[in-house]
Amino acid sequence: MSATYAAAATLEEALTAMRAGCRPVAGGTDLVVGARQGKSALPDALVAIHGLAGLHGIAELPGGGLRIGALVSHADLVDHRAVRSRYTALADASAIVGSHATRHVGTIGGNVMNASPAMETGGPLMCMGAEAVLASAAGERRLGLDALLTGPGSTAARPDELLVAIELPPPAAAAGSCYARLEYRRQMEIAVVGATCSVSLDGPRVAAALVAITALTPCIMRVPAAEAALAGSDGGAEAIRTAGDAAAAAAKPISDVRASAEYRRAMAAVIARRAIATAIARARDGSESVPIPASPALHGATD
């Protein structure tokens, strides 16, 4: 049982509470469920941040980037036109987190700071050059996702720092991205294997590519060998196959109730190929269709 719980009215209140040892709670989909399942006890002191207006909302940044408040829900991300059109992999990921209920309550801030190696949004954010904006009484600092995520359940944020926003730089011209996941069922699923690709094109050729793998290593990580295989290539089957094999080679899979290590490694190549092929296709035709059956709202959205 949590000993104290207070809802912060302002960011300053929240940061003061965190400096005094409070841990933040927003949607509670990881924190509360984890405590109920006995995964980890609730912190002794909680500060609720759901009322902090400055942490809500998605805003266009000067120069074409996007600032996503830490309290933005997965459902909000999926419904956001700019996210779908310019940061499509993030929409892919947000559309398949948990269930409809999880997506409406869970936040991107919680998803990132929970730092699960299987989190959906981590790979897309990493491949889009996202920066985490961390606030404390001492001020703000920014960390790239690869610097932020330091291990399963651990980040480089200090205990008194609160994630207030994720900032995304503008995508390159002729860019496309995709997050793909191995799914045993269509809702309430957790990534057994996930892969992200973000590419930009220079005419028929791939100008640059970023590839990350999810749930295959202790931290979500980029795969430079896969990126190298794609950069400068024609984005065809051979390049995609080489990149997929590189993703599989970078994996450090385990065997557990969800899959064998052998299957995970084989699927790393399959899922990476799918993410890469879709990212390239999206870059070529500007398509923003996110083929996720779990999200009728997405399919219904035409704006």
Partner: protein, 757 residues
């Protein structure tokens, strides 16, 4: 065969609005003044000798009101077929969910803390988790000294073999020798679970010597007997009430934890509530669907005629017998299937292991055994070079054919289910190369059990049905007003149903064995006929007409052929009020089991012939992702012979739910075990139910005719059959694309591994 009469109009069930609006109160919602919270201390080893239990630190914790072990309750062994259990572990713990002690405390958190403070001293023993290993000579016995247990005398048991049944017909050796083709295979099904969305909950409160127990059980009268037996109370002092039940699927059949909570409440002198966590729901109840090993061999002629069937089955009993001892005989019937086979030899065993005990889950043994049989049938079809539907068409049982125990079938529609299912799905049409259609047939008995009901009419003309039957979500109790209304010429909405209370209704076996409509439906009809006779007697005087000339229709008793001459039933009821009691009673006596010749069978526990058998064919169109092994079921066509369908909306719903459950068993639902028998995925993220988004389009049709041995108006069982053939149909579709998968569930990993071979 003509489509039978059926009711298609929507009918709003009495509990419907409560359940869909969230107003409904379930057991976990109940609070009593001064109520405490219960937690159990479970075994720390799957198999160990219990050397000592020290509860002193737990008892000393502030807020703890009672701590119980086996020393604190009557030393009673119990069990329906074998008395192999005690409420708490006595000398040995035999599976990870065995209860060593129980605590009642002011809050669940204090109770949990107290449970951790109980010190238990064990001598670990070798744990046996593999049922085939358990049957080998020299393996450690799960129940050392089992010979001393009281047991059903028809049980054939030896060592870890808790129950053995055989079926023998003809000469299987000669049949195999005569066959032009023989096919032999081995299938292994993992254990799975009922997984009701409501984890079980129990509240117990004493008043003097009497105890009231609110419990999420499917079988209130059997729960009452269990409490009375284990706590050595007169049944009259035990009242069991079932609030809304949040699903059961068989997992809440039998007596489970009611006595533990009642004993805690007595010791604490306070009401006590127990609410299970999801993990407990997986680990502790003795009612999970058993794992099976099926070795099956068939001899056939080149024209597809089946000649001989030999099979050896090993079923995983888990640590205690519960109601599983009849499983070997039932599973043996299931691997013969609804086919004509002259020579049969089946040998089925139920092996004790140090795992969570098995018990009835919706159509026990059938989905796994049918999955093995029906995939095997496709393998036989392939071996003789015949389309698998054609092979079934040539061998499926028809009127006049005899079963493996020489039961002669009266008119049945088994073949019609096959034809209708393949017609609905468009069997044989062109499909994309990663899609295929699989077909599977199955059968399932109706169960005759005693049952009773009262029907009474009130002064305002409304009615009440008082029944001991238990609603578990299927709608069978909620649909009883349809039957009473039909007899009395009234509307179903005019009846309320009083059930859920052992002090109110007559004894009933509860929501098990698809028996509610079959048996209690007949009782309600008889009770309504009794009331109808009383109304006619009153109407004779009022209308001055002979009873034979009167009929009940549209809420009136009227003269046949002259409907304007009549009287409202409500007026008759008002007239009778205070003078005559309009109270009917009924208890339909069920038809006896059909004759058969079980002379070649051992371990006979009542499954050797099937009363009013139901037949089912499912056809499933599936898509296999060849790169990942992920299977999607795109479409299922389900054709059923359940005799006359009384309530089409309700019956269709049972098929839709059964198919969804069957798809779960086919693809994703299975427990993974550690070497010593602990469940590794006892939580819903990794024990994967199908979600609403996964369930495909399901077409349902009913092709049976009223069965003279059936329930009311010739109805047969409905609730269990729908999950029987689905896994087999899905398996046969997968096999056409990826190769045959011999393990259940057919997970992406297993499908992928099959493709790698």
């Amino acid at each position: 065969m003509a489509i039978v009469e059926e009711r298609r109009e929507p009918f709003i069930r009495q509990d419907g609005k409560d359940k869909v609006t969230g107003l409904g109160r379930y057991t976990a919602d109940l609070t009593r003044t001064g109520m405490l919270h219960a937690r159990f201390r479970y075994a720390d080893h799957p198999h160990a000798r219990l050397l000592g239990v020290d509860t002193s630190r737990a008892r000393a914790l502030a807020g703890v009101f009672a701590v119980l072990t086996q020393d604190d309750v009557p030393d009673v062994r119990y069990g329906g077929f074998v008395e192999d259990r005690t409420l708490f572990a006595r000398d040995v713990v035999r599976f990870e969910g065995e209860i060593v002690a129980a605590v009642a405390a002011l809050t669940p958190e204090i109770a949990e803390r107290a449970v951790e403070l109980i010190e238990v001293d064990y001598e670990p023993l070798e744990a046996v988790s593999d049922p085939e290993h358990a049957l080998r000579d020299g393996t450690i016995l799960v129940h050392d000294g089992w010979e001393g247990y009281e047991a059903n005398e028809d049980l054939v048991r030896r060592g870890n073999d808790c129950s053995r049944s055989t079926i023998a017909k003809g000469d299987v050796e000669a049949g195999m020798a005569e066959a032009e083709v023989t096919v032999k295979e081995r299938y292994v099904a993992d254990m799975s679970h009922a997984v009701p969305i409501e984890p079980r909950a129990i509240v117990a409160e004493w008043q003097g010597d009497k105890v009231t127990v609110w419990t999420s059980t499917q079988v209130p009268f059997i729960a009452r007997s269990g409490i009375a037996t284990t706590l050595q109370l007169p049944e009259a002092d035990v009242r069991v009430i079932v609030p809304h039940l949040g699903g059961g699927f068989g997992g809440k059949c039998e007596f489970h934890f009611e006595a533990h909570v009642a004993a805690l409440a007595r010791a604490a002198a306070r009401p006590v509530r127990l609410v299970f966590t999801r993990r407990e729901e997986f680990i502790a109840p003795d009612h999970r669907r058993e794992g099976q090993v099926v070795e099956i061999e068939t001899g056939a002629m080149r024209d597809g005629t089946l000649v001989a069937r030999r099979a050896r089955l090993v079923l995983d009993n888990g640590a205690y017998a519960a109601d599983a001892p009849f499983f070997p005989q039932l599973a043996a019937m299931m691997v013969v299937g609804p086919y004509r086979i002259p020579h049969v030899s089946v040998d089925a065993h139920l092996a004790y292991t140090n795992t969570t005990p098995s018990g009835s889950v919706r159509a026990p043994t059938a989905p796994q055994a049918c999955w093995a049989l029906e995939q095997h049938m496709d393998a036989v079809a392939e071996a003789v070079g015949m389309d698998p539907v054609e092979l079934r068409r040539r061998n499926i049982v028809r009127e006049g054919d005899e079963s493996a125990t020489r039961q002669v079938f009266t008119p049945i529609a088994a073949a019609e289910t096959l034809e209708r299912a393949v017609e609905m799905i468009g069997y044989g049409r062109d499909l994309p190369e990663d899609e295929a259609i699989g077909v599977a047939c199955g059968w399932w008995p109706s169960f005759a059990m005693p049952s009773g009901a009262h029907v009474k009419l009130h002064g305002d003309g409304s009615g009440t049905i008082v029944t001991g039957a238990q609603e578990c979500g299927t709608g069978s109790v909620m649909a009883l007003p349809l039957l009473a209304a039909e007899v009395l010429g009234m509307r179903p909405e005019q009846f309320t149903v009083v059930y859920q209370d052992t002090d109110a209704g007559p004894w009933d076996a509860g929501a098990s064995g698809s028996q509610t409509t079959f048996n209690n439906g007949r009782a309600v009809v008889a009770a309504a006929v009794d009331v109808r006779d009383q109304l006619l007697e009153l109407a004779e005087e009022v209308l001055e007409a002979a009873r034979a000339d009167l009929e009940l229709a549209g809420g009136r008793v009227q003269v046949k052929g002259s409907p304007t001459t009549g009287v409202e039933i409500a007026d008759l009821a008002e007239k009778a009020a205070g003078d005559k009691l309009l109270l009917g009673r009924g208890s339909g006596s069920p038809a006896p089991l059909p004759e058969c010749d079980p002379s070649g069978c051992t371990g006979r526990l009542g499954m050797e012939s099937f009363l009013a058998p139901t037949f089912i064919t499912h056809a499933a169109r599936c898509k296999v992702d060849r790169a990942t092994g992920v299977v999607r079921v795109l479409e299922v066509a389900a054709a059923h012979d359940s005799g006359r369908v009384l309530n089409r909306v309700g019956a269709d719903g049972q098929v839709e739910g059964g198919v969804a459950m069957g798809i779960g068993m086919a693809l994703s639902e299975g427990s993974q075990l550690s070497a010593d028998g602990r469940q590794l995925n006892a939580y819903l993220l990794d024990y994967k139910l199908q979600t609403a988004s996964d369930v495909p389009s399901i077409q349902v049709d009913w092709v049976g005719a009223p069965d003279p041995n059936g329930g009311p108006n010739g109805a047969k069982a409905v609730a269990e059959p729908p999950c029987v053939p689905t896994p087999g149909a899905v398996g046969n579709a997968i096999a056409k694309i990826a190769g045959r998968v011999h393990q259940l569930p057919m997970t992406p990993l297993r499908v992928w591994e099959t493709m790698q071979r």
